[in-house]
């Protein structure tokens, strides 16, 4: 362990600020504004200094940075949990404790340090997913100590609803993603082959991108409602003007453009000599597509797919406005009730989900055989 490197020096700034800003906020009730609480008031000076040392240790460059930053992050979370319990002792009946600016700043800084250290080790795809899993497990374990923090109290009050909405959110995001891939890739192949189609298709898809999501939901209510009412069996499948169906269709439409664009770009990037050789050797069009073109275009296509997946996880939040459920339900209920912790209960899992989707998908891309560019 020697000296802080560039990253350590840079992160020292927000980390210091984290101690100078309120660590938590105590509010007399769920929707009142919070009174600032500082770390040294919450846990006492000796502990505060100890925590400062633990948080500062990973700033120094050295082999121990990985375990040190992981330990610091876990400690940070645990301290919040215990500190919250302390604040609630003797407080008003409906009082709530929320993490403050200091906590968030520290969390983000330590998380950056941890992820950077992990990234530098350049782990193999499977190892990356393993790290993600480990991080989630450790996170869940520390959350068990957050019983007195407002977000967890919101969670406990609606546990089954939370997991039901989680399932809906994942289903909506991944389902529309899968549909977009299944239709977008063939569409891209077609557009790449037939030059005349390119402009109209791309223009239409681009135009769709510019429609705000809520407006698109509104546009879909009538046609989907009609289908739900008049097509036999549609209602049973859940197709209707409100709910999952319009959100699914909207997310699917938004996802098409990146997939089609990347498919076209990927196919376009195939060297002419490869295409010529494939044809000249006697592969028929289907064989060329499946054995040569798509495998070679795959990295570009998958990059587009990854963008779409992460986009959909975030966009699915808006689906709550049309009754599709998902984490957005908590976001909008929280907004309506001016309860910021409820909003966080919806927003934070969405962010975590998006991050996890990105890591897993990247790992899949890197596992593909053959080209390592």
């Amino acid at each position: 362990m020697r000296y802080p490197d560039r990253l350590g020096s840079v992160l020292a700034v927000p980390l210091t600020a984290a101690f100078l800003l309120p660590f938590a906020g105590l509010k007399p009730n769920r929707i009142a504004s919070a009174q600032a609480e500082w770390l040294h008031d919450m846990v006492g000076w000796p502990f505060a200094v100890a925590i400062a040392i633990i948080a500062a240790a990973p700033l120094l460059k050295g082999k121990a940075r990985l375990p040190l930053s992981a330990f610091a992050l876990a400690t940070w979370m645990v301290v919040m949990g215990y500190g919250a319990s302390g604040l609630l002792e003797g407080a008003a009946e409906y009082a709530r404790v929320s993490p403050g600016a200091g906590f968030w700043l520290g969390l983000v800084s330590l998380a950056l340090l941890l992820t950077d250290t992990l990234a530098r080790a350049n782990p193999r795809p499977l190892a990356r997913v393993g790290c993600l899993l480990a991080a989630f497990l450790i996170g869940i374990m520390t959350l068990r100590l957050w019983g007195d923090v407002s977000i967890m109290q919101e969670y406990v009050a609606r546990k089954s609803a939370f997991w039901a909405e989680a399932r809906r959110h994942v289903g909506l995001a991944t389902g529309s993603f899968a549909a977009a891939v299944a239709i977008g890739i063939p569409m891209g192949v077609l557009v790449q082959r037939v030059a005349k189609l390119r402009a109209p298709v791309m223009n239409t898809l681009t135009a769709i991108q510019t429609i705000p999501s809520i407006a698109l939901f509104g546009l879909l209510i009538l046609p989907l409602g009609w289908i739900g009412a008049n097509v036999p069996g549609a209602r049973n499948m859940g197709i209707g003007g409100i709910g999952m169906a319009p959100a699914f269709v909207a997310l699917f439409l938004y996802a098409l453009l990146p997939i089609v664009t990347n498919t076209v770009a990927g196919l376009h990037g195939i060297p002419a000599s490869v295409a010529e050789a494939a044809r000249g050797m006697g592969l028929n069009p289907r064989q060329r597509l499946l054995r040569v073109d798509i495998p070679l275009a795959l990295p570009v296509i998958l990059t587009g797919a990854r963008i779409v997946l992460v986009q959909n996880v975030g966009l699915a939040t808006v689906g709550a406005l049309i009754g599709a459920g998902g984490f957005g339900t908590f976001v909008f209920q929280g907004l309506g009730q001016t309860a910021s912790d409820l909003v966080l209960l919806g927003a934070l899992p969405t962010v975590a989900l998006a991050f996890a989707a990105q890591v897993i998908f990247d790992a899949i891309i890197d596992c593909l055989p053959g080209r390592r560019t």
């Binding site: 929707i31 009050a157 009412a229 409100i242 009754g323 009730q337």
Partner: protein
């Protein structure tokens, strides 16, 4: 012969049963959660098959869904009919009974939607004053308030800029109740968030002791505020009532009598307190609804 009659009767009954569940919905705000759950649990307790699509979205989405038949019933405010039928300046909306009747008649004819018995609570724009000051100055209605301010009462009102500037809001109150607030008697907030105005009055920030509110805001009882009665009916009336599709009501006519006593028990104070438990205490809306129905004897425990 009797076998055929029985078969026909069976057929009629089963077609009735086969037509499915009543889809109960509501808006995504706090009160929507409370009222929606009340409707849902009452119907369920009375053996009507229900499907929950509560907290669906904002007014346009839920209204559209009802008209399209995607949902079957949801609580709507009588005053909103002014906008549905594009008659915002009609004086009928200022009288509770007339407002309800107009909404009922218009919607039945145009959309085959039936407005059922409304709650007494009036969730409209208003002014709330701190309890201690209201007691001391003996102010209970907006008429009292107007006189008190005109006589030099020490008031500071927290309100949104829309409330302050919109002709239908503060200017209307001022002209009807004979008072005028100067610039330093007001604290103007940018958003329309009544939680912020209530909070300001409760903690006395910047000397605020009065707040713009909606009648049934859940934070009011916790903030030590009192809603001042709009005795001269300046604001349109917004009473929540279940609105149900005529087709569904025909199939389950008992819905009217099941919900009527429940909604009549929803006074302003009661609804405030229910909203407050959800918003301020953080109790889930379904639990709050359940307790209300049990305590009121509407549902056997």
């Amino acid at each position: 012969m009797s076998i055929i009659k029985a078969a026909v009767l069976m057929g009629l009954l089963t077609t009735g049963m086969a037509s499915g569940q009543v889809v109960v919905s509501s808006k995504i705000d706090t009160e929507g959660g409370v009222l929606g759950n009340i409707i849902l649990q009452m119907l369920e307790a009375n053996d009507i098959p229900v499907e929950s699509r509560l907290q669906l979205g904002g007014t346009p989405v839920v209204r559209q869904a009802l008209i399209a038949g995607e949902i079957d019933v949801y609580p709507e405010y009588t005053g909103n009919a002014a906008f549905f039928f594009n008659r915002p300046d009609d004086p009928v909306w200022k009288d509770a009974e007339q407002a309800w009747q107009t909404a009922h008649d218009l919607d039945l004819e145009a959309n085959q939607l039936v407005w059922l018995t409304p709650a007494i609570a009036n969730n409209t724009w208003g002014i709330a004053l701190r309890d201690d000051i209201a007691d001391e100055a003996q102010v209970g209605t907006l008429s009292d308030f107007g006189k008190w301010v005109a006589d030099g009462g020490d008031v500071k009102l927290a309100a949104s800029s829309e409330f302050v500037n919109s002709a239908a809001a503060l200017p209307s109150f001022q002209s009807t109740y004979g008072f005028e607030l100067t610039a330093d008697q007001m604290v103007v907030l940018s958003g329309g968030d009544t939680a912020a105005t209530i909070q300001a009055a409760a903690t006395g920030t910047s000397g605020v002791n009065a707040a713009m509110i909606y009648g049934t805001d859940g934070a009011i009882p916790f903030a030590g505020l009192r809603v001042l009665m709009d005795d001269k009916q300046v604001q349109p009336v917004y009473q929540p009532a279940p609105v149900v599709r005529a087709e569904v009501l025909e199939e389950y006519p008992q819905i009217e009598e099941i919900l009527s006593p429940v909604f009549q028990a929803l006074t302003l104070d009661m609804l405030q307190s229910l909203n407050g438990r959800v918003q301020v205490e953080g109790v889930p809306a379904s639990d709050v609804a359940r307790a209300f129905l049990a305590d009121g004897g509407f549902v056997t425990k």
